[in-house]
Symmetry: C2
Subunit: 136 residues, 2 copies
DNA sequence: CTTTACGTTGACGTCAACGTCAAGAACGTG
DNA sequence: CACGTTCTTGACGTTGACGTCAACGTAAAG
């Protein structure tokens, strides 16, 4: 096991191996490496071995949520990169805000589709339950 | 053009060619044929030519919405086939209701992911706007 | 009656998102 | 220190969702 006990002063922040993050997020190490190949995450290297920090886990969570939502990984990258984009200058901030707008529109379209699908499904369920009731 | 005028009595219900449905839904004819290969739609044949009815257009709409939501086409098929499944007998109805339950759970998971993503994005947008205001 | 437009069936190509070996290197453990 | 476990880098395989091309039929238009 990885030492989870002993938390007195300020120890170095915890890190994870590739097997640990893969397990934790329910994916294979190949998937994690694939995301790295695409530049979605960039774990530290100690010698040749990958070392994952909290930041990497955060990004991995965002990636997998994007995947569950059906976004292609390239699009996922533009989204999460957005959160790290430089925004010190006004022009940069305005660019980021523009991107945010596009992403929001996209997400809201999806939400509309989703609500429509759910509404249909629920209507159908109701009719089925009525039929079932009629069958006594 | 396809004759859109002259609508006096009860003419035969309107039909469409593959080019028309493809155009209308913004996909290629190859895509439409692909969905037919997978058994997602089954247009009538007049000789060798495909003839699309309202039913086919309805299904195509469901397919494309499923696609926008990121569902694999095989899963889309199980969903739209559900709407046509036999439910005359109690056992059939109960099976259908079970399937509906699974689909609903899936959609609601997606909705949760979607709401989370939107909430994050909106929080980020707010912070960006504050930064912009500070830059006066 | 040839042209032009649209339709058809294969069949192979492609791209994304990984899976699946193979063949080592590094590391704790008996 | 040998051994099994976990890590590494290739590199090729696979599946889904089409794109693309060839080769051909058909039907209205000039």
């Amino acid at each position: 096991m990885t030492d989870a006990a002993a938390d007195p002063a300020d120890e170095p922040p915890r890190t994870w191996t590739i097997a640990e993050v893969a397990d934790e997020f329910g994916v294979t190490h190949r998937t994690v490496r694939h995301y790295e190949e695409l530049g979605l995450i960039a774990p530290e290297r100690r010698g040749t071995t990958r070392v994952y920090h909290r930041r990497d886990r955060t990004r991995l969570g965002l990636i997998l949520r994007g995947r569950r939502l059906g976004f292609p990984l390239e699009e996922v990258r533009t989204i999460i990169d957005l959160y790290d984009a430089p925004r010190g200058r006004r022009s940069q901030l305005e660019y980021v805000l523009g991107q945010i707008g596009s992403r929001r529109a996209d997400l809201e379209q999806r939400r509309a589709d989703l609500e429509a699908a759910l509404a249909e499904l629920e209507g159908f369920e109701r009719r089925c339950r009525e039929d079932l009731a009629r069958l006594g």
